[in-house]
Symmetry: C2
Subunit: 456 residues, 2 copies
């Protein structure tokens, strides 16, 4: 296939079984409406809550999902599928409904974040990429939210493109972390595509390329007169801080005040204290200290507790790969087909049947507890899933990224206090299935037992 | 910017500081040749070796790296860069040299996997994406190699697209794991793009969509007559295995012999033993058992030690996110500029100066030890870095993926026995810097001290 193939935009980016199942559904004329729900089975022990993210990319994917002629030609040549199946794939358009939690909503285990209702082959075929898109942004937004809670008032920047798992991960990690409250990112196209503020200074190689730190700093000042941030740990951090104090008056006289310094190695807290003292003694009280290198939310919390004088953090690997827990136990499961609720019984992986809704109760602005019930029920509290697409088209404009970010900030504010901490909250947040949902699950089990027993 | 932006193909997918540095280099006319080396600073405690991978994607990136007019227009509108810098970016082509270890080569901490020598702005600008591409495939190939060593003779399939971090990660994880010895993947475009065998059966939703397992199995058999693999854990694994035994004669009579069954939940070892007994007693000794769900190399090794009758494994999350260690401490560092070796001294992050080579000694087919020295030295053993690009063009065709896979298999075969185990090898594999390299590092430090001390 052609080298210009873009996996992020191709419906071919799927698991083979999605195509073999579609092939069988076509043969069996199984085109009735199916509902699938995306949810997380279990929260990681190191997460008290998760943050919904990625819906904008899912909607874009569903609206544009189709096979190219080149892809269809290749699929036909593999000999795996009947010509009628290739035709079915050629005609593929997503015509279904989507209900989902708005991006930035806090959610918990077993709660559906998104529901697709569409003819069975459609709802099934989009599974792999839909999970791939939702899982990653939820993972990163949830990790970033912990950092935001651990470092209130600090500038937090995503520096993680290089260690992110591929191009799309780098770009979407910038989006997900901004949504969760980060200040910005170093990843350039995040500004072009999503309007996220971008930040950047210099690398060690810049300092090394010059004969001395002084020459490097002077050259950078000529190029970046408006916001000069100098990297000071290439050779000796404190010596470089003294050099900054020495150079600052002349730089300021040329219209280039030093805005900040960055430290990227060693004991960041100790260096920050020493550098702060040097800068303050040199009259540079307004110069900010940025730190980067090996940071995570635990270190942010420790710095806060110890009053470490760091104004902003560039966070890479731990953010964009969610190092402590790099994948969530999530699924996209059939909950109803042809008007009948369905339930998987596999050990440790049983699912709640039927199209569901989540209602959240609040008191004094704080979240009190969630009810997980059937979509057609009426329950007290705010229903979290809202209509997003009907008949393959969005029902209205999605909230902007800024709105999703504001929603997430409100949600973090409304978290019960124990959930805002980095340690596991005991007891965890209460999510209770309704009686109607329990009854339906029991009825599904009875029906399945009868069918298994009564098979011919 | 336009929604069709493909981050995987855009030179704009970079950290902002790469552009601000280029801006400064242009102003200072610093266009002399620079050498940067990519290496891993430290092996994770749970890795005895790493596998080089991703070079093919890096070369493709370097050959095609340029800015589109749309990207340049956007950059200009941000007001961050002088018009001359936008012109410099418009003219950007990679004209440099690349030396690298062929894909599939085993390597260790501090060893350069790849060296770029190019005019400083070029060598710098490609940094972020080059690390992003190399890091991920090395991460996954190294993880996959552990699974290959833990499960000799087993069919190993990548099932990890949905939990991979984005589209590119899903696709390149299929490539990296195949390179390391996996049998194939479920990710469809991996066959179209890379010729990797793809595999797939059915999901639980397929079984659930039918009235009973029997109906689901019959429908799937009509659609997949050539290689029928049935998922048997949707409701009750052993009951479904008995159903397979019951259905097999009729299916075979219709020309659709059952090729295998898949188990995806519960205690896989216990289920596999029970299912094997049911199948064997039912005369289905040739039917293979596949397992998936929550697998990693530790479980593969335990299954092997206990003789669990599983023929093939579908491995998802732990493979495509390298769950136990989802990022490597890697870097792309300036080692020479304008003919002069450079060295970063930052605490815990000091680098070896100068363009380097790695020589590997072998005895009786096994790897004995590596020497890390200067590229111009002559040392005993096989030099691992070979010329890949000269003047921006590849010196010849890269090894095919099949060749890289064969090389990796030979490398794993040649590993010292303790390194082939999952536990940390003690002592680790010996990598010794040459005397010339040590002397150069000391000379760099002396020069740096003199310059810092002698500054005006």
């Amino acid at each position: 296939m052609h080298a210009a193939f873009d996996p992020a935009r191709s419906l071919l980016l799927t698991d083979l079984y999605e195509l073999t199942m579609l092939d069988a559904y076509r043969r069996e004329s199984m085109e009735a409406a199916a509902s699938f729900e995306f949810f997380v089975r279990k929260l990681p022990p190191c997460r008290n809550f998760l943050v919904a993210a990625g819906l904008a990319q899912v909607v874009e994917f569903l609206e544009t999902a189709r096979f190219t002629e080149e892809e269809l030609g290749w699929l036909a040549r593999t000999g795996r599928f009947a010509p009628e199946t290739i035709e079915r794939l050629r005609a593929f358009r997503f015509t279904g409904d989507v209900d989902a939690m708005p991006e930035g909503t806090v959610f918990f285990a077993d709660e559906p974040v998104l529901r697709v209702t569409a003819p069975l082959p459609e709802a099934q075929l989009v599974e792999s990429r839909l999970i791939n898109l939702l899982h990653f942004q939820i993972l990163i937004a949830s990790k970033a939210a912990r950092m935001v809670l651990a470092a209130p008032g600090k500038i937090l920047l995503d520096f993680g493109l290089r260690r992110a798992h591929g191009a799309e991960a780098g770009l979407l990690a910038a989006r997900a972390s901004y949504l969760a409250g980060f200040t910005g990112t170093a990843t350039v196209p995040a500004e072009a595509l999503f309007g996220i503020p971008i930040y950047g200074t210099m690398a060690h190689s810049f300092v090394q390329a010059f004969g001395s730190e002084r020459e490097a700093f002077e050259a950078f000042a000529r190029s970046r007169p408006k916001s000069l941030i100098l990297l000071i740990d290439t050779y000796d951090t404190e010596a470089a801080a003294r050099l900054v104090v020495e150079m600052a008056p002349e730089l300021a006289a040329h219209g280039t005040p030093v805005a900040g310094v960055r430290i990227d190695s060693g004991d960041l807290a100790a260096h920050a204290r020493a550098v702060r003292a040097i800068l303050d003694a040199g009259g540079l009280r307004e110069v900010k200290i940025f730190a980067s290198g090996g940071l995570d939310e635990q270190l942010l919390a420790r710095h806060r507790a110890e009053g470490v004088p760091i104004d902003g953090y560039g966070i890479g690997t731990s953010l964009t790969t969610s190092t402590d827990w790099p994948a969530l136990d999530c699924a996209y499961k059939l909950v109803a087909y042809a008007g009948e609720p369905r339930r998987k019984r596999s050990e440790g992986k049983a699912t709640w049947p039927g199209a569901k809704q989540v209602w959240r109760r609040r008191a004094n602005g704080r979240m009190e507890g969630d009810r997980l019930g059937l979509a057609e029920e009426r329950q007290e509290g705010e229903p979290l899933l809202v209509p997003v697409m009907r008949g393959g088209k969005r029902v209205g404009p999605l909230p902007s990224l800024a709105e999703a970010r504001a929603r997430c900030a409100r949600e973090l504010e409304a978290l019960p206090e124990p959930l805002r901490r980095l340690e596991p909250a005991q007891p965890p947040y209460p999510v209770e299935p309704t009686e109607a949902l329990r009854a339906l699950a029991a009825a599904c089990d009875r029906r399945q037992r009868e069918r298994a027993g009564g098979g011919p």
